[in-house]
Amino acid sequence: MASLSPAKAAALIQTSAGHTLVEIPDGAQLDEPIVIDVDLDAPHAAATRVVAGPRSRVSIVERIHGGAPNQTVVLACEVVVGAGADVTYTVLQTASTGAKIEVTRRSDVDTDGHMKWNVALLGGANAVDAVVSHHNARGTSTEIAAIFFPVARENVQLTTEVRHDQPMTSSQTVVRSIAAGHGRGRYFGNIRIAAHSHGSEASLRDDTLLIGKDAKIDAIPALEIAANDVKAFHGATVGAIDDEHIFYLMSRGIERDAAEKLIALGFFEPALSRFPGEALRDEIRGLLEAKLAVSQR
């Protein structure tokens, strides 16, 4: 089900029966991203495991595509971030119309390690994705940037959770979503700061835009704080495109549809700008634009 490109001399990569193992040796610094191609049309479930050795640095891009209607594919992904390692894991999910997909993702971050998840959920009739990052040692950090955009009758459910189980850990979560047409979405965002995790800092920001009266996204951010001396913030908004914004753009000669497009695509930017590489960001902008065109039809 999964294939990788390009083969990396610095990384040990094994694939068999839908299982992918990527091992980054201690101290290895990979400048080019490793691409994991996940084809949902392959018959079996897939599991991906990335083990980044201490002080290594790697960026991985997982591309999920394909999928038959009414067939649910279950995927699992696990990332082990060694001490002082820096891992960026980017997901671009463009499953076929009608495909159903459920993914669980987990990262375990060691001392002073940094984990960055970027998740774009742009395909499938029913997509469920859950990202959980565990801060298992001091000085660990996680960043999560996620976007999703259900249109027509698509359903998307995203969960993010950061577990601050040790002192002096930090996390930032930024989620941007739009629903249009009869699109439905649900976002659960959790930050858990355990007892004795003093000096930890966490923020969670989730903003949602609804286009049309039939679109719906529920956002449920939550903070669980059991420690003193921590900084934690969460905020969520749900709204429609502001008429004053439309008028402002139209007053500059821009047609209404084009104004809506500018605003909607711009809405994703605070999360999308965190994704790595201009080429990938442009690719995602193109996919978002195509989805928006479907909703404006």
Binding site: Y248, S251, E255, A258, L262, I263, E269
Partner: protein
């Protein structure tokens, strides 16, 4: 006889069923600067928004023509493409949309295909220099986190790039320091008569005569209670500075009586 000009005739408009504009007659000729002054609540901003086509402002009667073409039936984008520009007093912040992307999209909407990318880039950088603005502006999101002065400068940058036939500047001077006012003045002067024959006409809405020291007005109008009550030369603005609006109000009421 030429029918060029921004011609407002008998314009009446209401907001939430309350009549604000009670019959405005005003003509702005190409290349001329008209100042529209008046106390708070006299209807100046309502006039600006009504001309630009804001959906909250209902036109009850009258007409607005640009060089002979009626615009009141047009959507706001079509009015802009016909050559009207409104500089907002409080422009909207649009996170995620870069200034560069916004201005390029707007320029292509009002003047399609008239500049290749390299020339467009040069145009932007030239105008940034005139307005004493840093190029870093271009990569920021539209008005997002901008100071009051930065917002006004961005409005002026758009004005310079879009080069409309007629521009309505709604309290552009509020929130600007002297340096910024001078930059605005230079920008407007440059647009009144350009080398390529363009001659933008301006309607500058303001409370205070201050901006008129940097942008000398050809004609000054005083608006009160939804009507133009007095029209004169630059000396009228000086009189407002000396006497405030009370003297004019008394004169007008006395004249009516």
């Amino acid at each position: 006889m030429s029918n060029r000009g921004l011609v407002i005739s008998g314009l009446r408009a209401s907001v939430e069923e309350k009549e604000i504009l009670k019959g405005i007659d005003l003509v702005v000729e190409p290349g001329k600067v008209h100042a529209l002054m008046g106390p708070n609540g006299s209807g100046k901003s309502t006039l600006a928004f009504s001309m630009a086509g804001h959906p909250n402002y209902k036109i009850e009667g009258g007409s607005v023509t640009l060089d002979g073409a009626e615009i009141l039936e047009l959507s706001p984008d079509k009015r802009a493409r016909a050559g009207l520009f409104l500089s907002f007093q409080y422009p909207a912040a649009i996170p995620g949309v870069s200034v560069a992307n916004f201005i390029r999209t707007a320029r292509m909407a009002v003047k399609p295909d008239d500049l290749p990318p390299a020339k467009f880039r040069k145009l932007i950088y030239d105008k940034l220099e005139v307005l004493d603005m840093d190029a870093a502006f271009l990569s920021r999101y539209v008005n997002d986190g901008f100071s009051g002065g930065e917002k006004k400068r961005l409005e002026m940058l758009q004005l310079a790039i879009l080069a409309p036939k007629y521009a309505v500047l709604d309290e552009t001077d509020s929130g600007l320091d002297v340096d910024a006012l001078q930059a605005v003045g230079r920008s407007i002067e440059a647009m009144r008569a350009t080398d390529d024959g363009r001659d933008t006409g301006f309607l500058i809405i303001t409370h205070y005569p201050r901006i008129l020291r940097h942008v000398p007005a050809d004609v000054v109008h005083i608006m009160m209670d939804g009507r133009i009550v007095k029209t004169g030369g630059p000396d009228l603005a000086e009189r407002v500075e000396r006497e405030g609006y009370d003297g004019i109000r008394e004169e007008v009421i006395g004249g009516v009586a």
